[in-house]
Assembly symmetry: C2
Homo-oligomer: 201 residues x 2
Amino acid sequence: MEPVARPPLRDEIRDVLVEGMISGRWGPGDRIVERRLAAELQVSQAPVREALRELEALRLIESAPNKGARVRGFTPADLREVYQVRAGLEETATRLGGPSVPALRAHVARMHEAAAAGSLDGQVRHLVGFHREIVTASGNAVLASVWESLGIEVWTHVSIRLFRMRPHENAADHEPLVEAFDRGDPEVGRLLRDHVLGYAP
Amino acid sequence: MEPVARPPLRDEIRDVLVEGMISGRWGPGDRIVERRLAAELQVSQAPVREALRELEALRLIESAPNKGARVRGFTPADLREVYQVRAGLEETATRLGGPSVPALRAHVARMHEAAAAGSLDGQVRHLVGFHREIVTASGNAVLASVWESLGIEVWTHVSIRLFRMRPHENAADHEPLVEAFDRGDPEVGRLLRDHVLGYAP
DNA sequence: TCTCATCATATGATCGATCATAGGGTGTTT
DNA sequence: AAACACCCTATGATCGATCATATGATGAGA
């Protein structure tokens, strides 16, 4: 038990940045000025820098020495690279451990609901949740952490907003996968891989 | 052209730490005290902290709030997780682009030479080089960077030193792979995957 | 006007100092 | 002796200030 233990400032700052990138406050190419952000958040420059280092490792921002940080731009080709890696990781995950089929069904149902309610945000959240269930169910923590490090959630939000992608059709696309997991189809890994590659522009 | 542009201090500090972990100066579980290291390197605490954040993202150290950083310990089970991910990544790489067979042969030759000369360090360097050639040849920069983020090189050095693993037999193990790449064997991905999984304890 | 050197400003990089927390030691109370 | 509260030290977290670099503005000279 440790009910007090506040999280370090740098973590809150990192979350502010991530949230800002999701909401569109900072878009690709935008400069992130350490001192301005520090002043706005009423903190000093140091924890801001540390948060930026973290986001750099997550490939969400890029920075050059003495030039500062900016939100990473990305081309469709870059996105394709990410999806290729992600597809491989998720295929690997299916070889290590099967996900909970009820959990998958729940995410699909929520995706449908969110689509009906017109909630882009909800759709993305459960779309990501569906795939996250697969990687965490692998039981391989390294795999899960590498998958997270691709920044799937943020990039999905950002690319939907920037490219005006329509995730409506996604919910239905997932049902064949659920069925394949349910019947223990040995081809499910390949199916999943092709499914993920299908996201790529 | 930018012949001057010194690298940021934090990068040098990070390299010192990595080198120290490879050389055995810091072993798993060892505490890394920010102020002591800063004093020793004649720098201040800030860049040391930033270097530690980077190494944390690379999973080379772990840290808890207000508790400080220590070199990550790892069990054979942890290593197995890393190798499973790595095997999947390298298999994915073979689907995206074939490596240079001459380059692979060169690495194998150097592995043999290093083994003959009794140079553990040389063996590891070319062992890693062999696999790095495969992932970089995929042409997918994200894949390569994720692969690097597993800290393959450091962990290979460390586990050989700690577990007294003998890499002598490794050079020969790679020849079937080279041949498979050379003849364009469609099974090379699976072969490579099994090869990498074979490293796991 | 064009070119280039100089300088001013903004900002990243680093520093030294302070604040806050964790862990261990010590003494007091029972 | 055991339990507990208190304090002390080491150290991580954060701050405010300074140093160093990059970028754009200014103006002299051709």
